[in-house]
Amino acid sequence: MKHAIEVDNVSKCFRLSGGTRTLKSAALDLLRSRDHREAFWALKNASFNVKKGETVGIIGANGAGKSTLLALIASTMYPTSGTIRTEGSISSLLELGAGFHPDLSGRENVFLAGAIMGIPRTRMEERFDAIVDFAELHEYIDEPVKHYSSGMYVRLGFAVAVEVDPEILLIDEVLAVGDAVFEMKCLGRMADFRRRGKSMLIISHDLQTVQEVSDRIMLLEHGEIQQVGNPSNVVAQYQALSELRHRDGLRKEWGSREMEMTRIETHDAAGEPSQSFACGDEVEVRIHYHASARIVSPVFGFAISDDNGRVIAGSNCQAERITMPDLDGDGYVVLRIPSLSIAKGKYLLSFSVHSSDHSVNYHRLDNCFPIEVAASEEFAGVYLKTEWSIQAIND
């Protein structure tokens, strides 16, 4: 077997129940001869291999199934279907100091943690000094760990896990807990680990670090492996995806719907449909409407927000002293921005149509239309025409 880890078509299903199951609900399930708790597939048909000596990073949003995957490989859980094969001893850092008991001393906990990992006592005795050295806990090693600071606690947890010298190391987001010095030390130890041809699987939200330490990166989404490949490519794809998600999250559509905006088109100066402009370009927006009944002089408005949803500019036709006629049926309103004077960046357009006294919102499309300003001079936000002059005072 030239792979350290082989994951073949693995799925994991959890049964969700509102709180802990009681005997009553369990008995009811038995009567119905089925488990009626809602199924949640944390992992779907995952297949991949980790070669010996390879480091694979796992990235993805919260709830994507990263920790479940690691727990399955560490065999704290069993897959619902599929098989996982591993070769060599595994040390898992699903949580630093997971096996520690607060009332026991550091020394006792080191041996207990070793025994939990299946390391013979004699070997732990050989390693003990190195563990204490790495954790820098010399004078405190015989104190109960409940008196440790959280930093001391995680240092000891990490020290035990790496000093037992496994063939495979599984790490779940543990680098984020220590201080900078400790993190450097951990990264150093991981690099050393890598040089000696051991395999690692690392979950991290720190994209920069994970990209640096990994040979390949896996992107998980909704329990499915989206991609396994070159670190910088996968990280770039994940970042683009996150941005899209973020924009979707800002998106909002609402209103009483007597009148609707059915379609929005943005055109450049040449009249071609476009979402990308340069600062100062002319932009023409066509707001297609549909009114199911006659609407008395509606007011159309628009806003430009930055990619965090903060409005940076906005106006409506009323503010421009334009009164719309009463509208009925279909048609489109043209909004012309003679000069899009905003700084380079990504923006979201919002549109609204409401009654002239602002009491009824017929239809609102908030942050629904992304546009990009690809190039601009160096300035921030909305361009303000400014004048500069010098009045030198010479003695």
Binding site: A74, T76, S92, A98, L104, F111, L112, I116, R121
Partner: protein, 258 residues
Amino acid sequence: MNRFLHDLWRNRELLQLLVARNIKIRYKSSILGFVWTLLNPILFIGIYAMFLGLLKVAIALPLLVSGVIVWSFLDMCLGDSLYAVIGNTNLIKKTSFSRPTLPVAMVLSNLVNFVLSLIILGCYLIFARVSPQHLWLLPVFVLSQTALCLGLALIISAMNVYFRDTEHILAVVKLAWFFMTPIIYPISFVFDQVSPTLQKAAFLNPMTGLVTAYRWVLMSEDIIAPQLVTMSHAICWGVLAVGILIFQRAERGFADEL
């Protein structure tokens, strides 16, 4: 069963550490520490002796003392088994190791206590001038009772992961069981009162056979029905086998449920 024992043997160092941990932690923050293990049964015996006297139930003190001490081993195991698994949620979810070591370590730590209290019981019996017989059989009975305790601990600790109602059911069952076992009354009481069929039924409760057997060796009580006592012992080992099967089936889902 084979796999179970093999697994435990492989994890003997872990077991040893867990037993040490359990014993250490139990008495860590109490002032009297280990003394409680002895003080508890003594206080209970005092209470029972007083009320049995008031109720005019005739039972010799050595019988009562041995009954309560034997029962307390089971009682402690049942109580602790509720938390043997769910009390180690972090270990179950975050580390992979042989799961049966948790209930086994719990029963073994209670066994240590039990053996110590048996020694104290022995001192008391010498003081009370009660003479034992066939003492070499004592370890056999202790082993049978350990099998029973472990079997039940495996079942209860696994059940409590899935159904938290277990705790409430156990409280009631324990109380009923206590009164169905000849602890605060002599076994002759059962033989005097009920029909032969019900006598047999009484020994389906393995504790009846165990308590009878302990009293037989410790204070030379006559055994009225040796074959029934043997049956009780067989049941103890049967419970262990069932416990192992149930636990092995249940443990795969522990991390999902906790």
